[in-house]
Structures are given as structure tokens and as C-alpha cells.
């Protein structure tokens, strides 16, 4: 407004006219919706795994942080994982077998998405093992990646149950974390082969589900050493530039206080950077950028 007023003065407008215009501008500003919530600019607050759930018990559901009135804008749980594979759970199915899947939170996110048009609804991730722990299959790295993708997609469809539980955020996230553990050895090329095998299988399955990856900038760099490029893969980062508990809650992926630290050659504004996980206390929250062309469905 200051700039606009200055421009009018340079053109020599009478002071009375300036006053009227200024009043109109102020009036218009007072009537405009306050852009206080991140979701007004396409950034939805959400949660993942075991917590948190909504702050209220009746729909529409609200996020239990960052002030009142923010929508519960999404939930991403552990649909399965290589660490859950056993003789009694051969595809490592998550729901009912892990703390990191909550059916109630998933349903709440779906209600907000489908009934109220708020947020992205539910989605799922698969906890990956690297090439040094193949759950006894002894598969080569790329085949091991494909095998995990096959299990993960089967788990996704099992939960989906032909529509019994919907999963509108159609990105199957690979949870890649902790260098030196979970089969992630020091061979970056082999590690990347596992990732590539998973990526290829999901992409060519033609089930309308896209592959994505959850990691941190640091851990991704160590695990995939020398093979880190990710220009066409959806990313979800758990790393923030300056603190683990930003305050106030962020309204974008980047502002003067902090930025989401993506990886593999992508940055906050890149096409496939979708979610930022951060913590308040010890609870995990997520911010989801629906300004990107996320693979979402309304059915």
C-alpha cells in the first residue's frame, strides 16, 4: 500500500483523492480473508505414523497444533515394511501390525478430503531394507527392490480393499533411513539399485500410484553416495535447516526462519518436493504442498 500511495503522489493527485483511495484500500483489506492459515496458500498441515490425531472428535477434523482452526490436512501411515516381513506376515502388511499405522487417523483425513474438500486424505509408506538385508530372499539389489515394491503394492491394495478404505494421496513412499542399518551398507550403487527396482516396479504397475521417497538430506546423501539424483521422484523430507521445532508453525517450505532441506538435486520450489515433516515436542507433523501436481484422487 505504501508503494501505491507513493506512485499516486508522483502523479500529482490531490491530497483529498489520496485519502479516499487510501480509505478504500484499507476497507478492502479489512474485508479480505486473513491469510493466516498455511492451507489458504495450498500448504496443508498433516501427520504421519502413530501421531498426532485430530484435536476434535467430530468432522471436519482439526490439526492439534499451530493454533486453532487448522484442518487435519492429511495422514500418511506405514502400509507395510520389510521389517514386518515374517512367516506369519509374508508381505510385511502394516495395519494391525505396527504402531505406525492408525486406522482412525487415516479415516479422519479421508473424511476431511472427501466430504469437505480439505487436505489430501490418507496415504502410505513402505519401510525399506537395503541390499544387505533381503529378508532371507537373497535377491540381487534391483530384484530386492522390485520384491519390496510388489509387497508394498499388495499391502496398499489389501488395505484399499476395493474401496473399503480409500487412499487418495496416491504416492507410495519408500522410507529410506539410517545409514549402516536396515540393510543399507556402504555401497551406494547397490543401494540405489534397490531404490530403482522399487521405483520401476511401482511405475510400471500402472495402478495409478507413483513412487516417492522419505528421507533426510544427510541420510539420503550417505546411503546413496554418488547416486543421489532424484529429479523425477516425489520427495518427503524430515530435515529442516535450523531447528527441529520451528515456531511459529511454518506456512511454506521456506521463509526467513527456516527451510525444508530436500535432497537429490531438488529444492523447496522443485516440481516434486511434496511434504516436509517437522516436530513439535516429540510429535511428528507434516506440511503438504498441494500447489505441486500431486497425484490425488477424489474417488
Amino acid at each position: 500500500m505504501t508503494t501505491r500511495t507513493a506512485r499516486i503522489r508522483r502523479r500529482g493527485a490531490p491530497p483529498a483523492l489520496i485519502g479516499v483511495l487510501a480509505s478504500l484500500i484499507l476497507l478492502a483489506g479489512a474485508n479480505a480473508p486473513a491469510p493466516a492459515f498455511a492451507e489458504t496458500s495450498g500448504f496443508w498441515y498433516g501427520a504421519d505414523s502413530g501421531a498426532p490425531g485430530p484435536s476434535n472428535s467430530n468432522p471436519p477434523y482439526n490439526e492439534p497444533s499451530c493454533g486453532t482452526g487448522r484442518s487435519y490436512g492429511g495422514y500418511i501411515g506405514k502400509i507395510g515394511g520389510a521389517d514386518l516381513v515374517s512367516s506369519s506376515n509374508p508381505s510385511g502388511y502394516g495395519p494391525g501390525n505396527t504402531f505406525a499405522w492408525n486406522s482412525g487417523y487415516s479415516a479422519s483425513a479421508d473424511t476431511n478430503h472427501f466430504r469437505y474438500g480439505r487436505g489430501v486424505g490418507a496415504g502410505g509408506y513402505w519401510f525399506m531394507f537395503g541390499p544387505d538385508n533381503t529378508d532371507g530372499t537373497n535377491l540381487a539389489p534391483k530384484d530386492w527392490g522390485r520384491q519390496q515394491a510388489e509387497w508394498a503394492l499388495a499391502d496398499w491394495q489389501r488395505w484399499y480393499g476395493e474401496g473399503a478404505h480409500r487412499m487418495p494421496l496416491r504416492i507410495l513412499w519408500m522410507d529410506v533411513e539410517v545409514p549402516g542399518s536396515y540393510g543399507w551398507g556402504s555401497n551406494g550403487a547397490d543401494n540405489r539399485e534397490v531404490f530403482d527396482g522399487f521405483w520401476d516396479y511401482v511405475t510400471h504397475a500402472h495402478e495409478g500410484i507413483k513412487p516417492g521417497v522419505y528421507s533426510t538430506n544427510y541420510q539420503w546423501g550417505v546411503i546413496m553416495s554418488g547416486h543421489t539424483g532424484l529429479l523425477h521422484t516425489w520427495e518427503w523430507t524430515a530435515q529442516i535447516s535450523v531447528a527441529s521445532s520451528p515456531s511459529p508453525c511454518p506456512t511454506t517450505f521456506s521463509d526467513s526462519r527456516q527451510f525444508a532441506d530436500f535432497y537429490g538435486g531438488q529444492r523447496e520450489a522443485s516440481q516434486h518436493t511434496a511434504i516436509w515433516q517437522w516436530s513439535l515436542g516429540s510429535a511428528d507433523y507434516d506440511q503438504i504442498d498441494t500447489n505441486k501436481a500431486l497425484p490425488l484422487t477424489m474417488h
Binding site: 501421531a51 498426532p52 521389517d83 505406525a100 482412525g104 535450523v242
Partner: protein
């Protein structure tokens, strides 16, 4: 496992993590044991605490999701006699060189730990009990894991001696722990 109960338990683990951080001043595992121990002393006369030589502790496994992990330890009674356990385990984290890593370990709170009072757990011969830990996998600012841990050193209430459970993990920040509970269910 009944679906409703499962949902509640699944809902809770991160809430338990929240409780660890929000609890005013996380207490040490030793303090936990001492607190529970005073109660145990009052009831020990009516129980039959397990002998250390009768017990075997082992890592049942871990369950990791999006930056948090639940680690479960099972306890098996290898003797021919029934015995009982009670309370929270007192834990220390051992580095690969054998030294003890500083750690904040607190009793878990929140929905996951709801109903898990430090009550007596009776173990028949070959019977099993368990407890679990929940921790973060890395520092959200740096993206790095915590210090490398190679074993848990465990003391159980009224059980003389210390157990060492090999377990490779790298927790960051505070850990929350459950009391000893019946059964060997892996979280």
C-alpha cells in the same frame, strides 16, 4: 489381536513419545526403578521374584516408521518354577566400546502406554514377558542419527544382577519405556 484394541495401541506410540518430551524433566531409568522398587518392596514378600539365572532376555525386533522406532525385548522364564516380575526395567545404553552412553529414559505415557501399570507379571515355566522402548531415529535439524549403541544393559526389579541384550541402534533424544508386561508381543 482385536482390531479395536490394536487401533488404540497403534494410535498411541507417538503420543508416548510426546509424553516423554513433555514430561517435566525426564527421569533416569535408575530413578524409575527406585520409584517402582519401593512399591515392589512392600509386595515382594507375597511374590516369588524370578532369579536372574532363570531368565533369558533377547531383542525381539524393531518396528520403524518415518523417523521413529519401537524396540521390543522379550523375557523368557527358563526355569522349572513359576516366578514373577514387576515394574519398569532400569536401562542403560552401551556403546560398542562398552562405555555407557548418556541417555534420557522416561516412563512412557499416552495412549500406547495406557493400562500398562507396573503390575506383577507372573511367568510360568517357559512363559514370556516383554517391554519396549520408543525413540527417534535422527536429529531433524542435521538429519543424522544419534550415537551408535550396541547393547542394552537391563536390571529388573527384585532380580539381582544385570542382563546385557545385544541391540544395534542409534537413538536420538529421549527414549520412553514401557513396564514389563505379559506376553512377547512385538510392538
Amino acid at each position: 489381536m482385536p482390531a479395536k484394541r490394536t487401533a488404540g495401541r497403534l494410535a498411541a506410540i507417538a503420543a508416548g513419545v510426546i509424553a516423554v518430551a513433555s514430561a517435566a524433566g525426564a527421569v533416569s531409568a535408575t530413578a524409575l526403578a527406585l520409584t517402582a522398587g519401593s512399591h515392589a518392596a512392600r509386595t515382594a514378600a507375597t511374590r516369588h521374584p524370578c532369579r536372574a539365572s532363570a531368565l533369558r532376555l533377547r531383542l525381539a525386533g524393531t518396528d520403524t516408521g518415518a523417523g521413529s522406532t519401537a524396540l521390543t525385548v522379550t523375557i523368557t522364564n527358563r526355569s522349572a518354577a513359576a516366578c514373577s516380575l514387576q515394574g519398569y526395567p532400569a536401562l542403560r545404553l552401551a556403546r560398542p566400546d562398552g562405555s555407557v552412553a548418556p541417555a534420557r529414559i522416561a516412563a512412557g505415557r499416552g495412549p500406547l502406554f495406557a493400562g500398562m501399570s507396573p503390575a506383577e507379571v507372573r511367568l510360568r515355566p517357559a512363559g514370556q514377558a516383554s517391554f519396549f522402548l520408543v525413540y527417534r531415529d535422527f536429529n531433524g535439524r542435521t538429519g543424522r542419527s544419534g550415537p551408535a549403541i550396541s547393547a542394552l544393559r537391563v536390571r529388573l526389579l527384585d532380580v539381582p544382577g544385570r542382563f546385557t541384550v545385544p541391540a544395534r541402534f542409534a537413538p536420538f533424544g529421549a527414549l520412553s519405556v514401557s513396564p514389563v508386561r505379559p506376553g512377547a508381543r512385538r510392538e
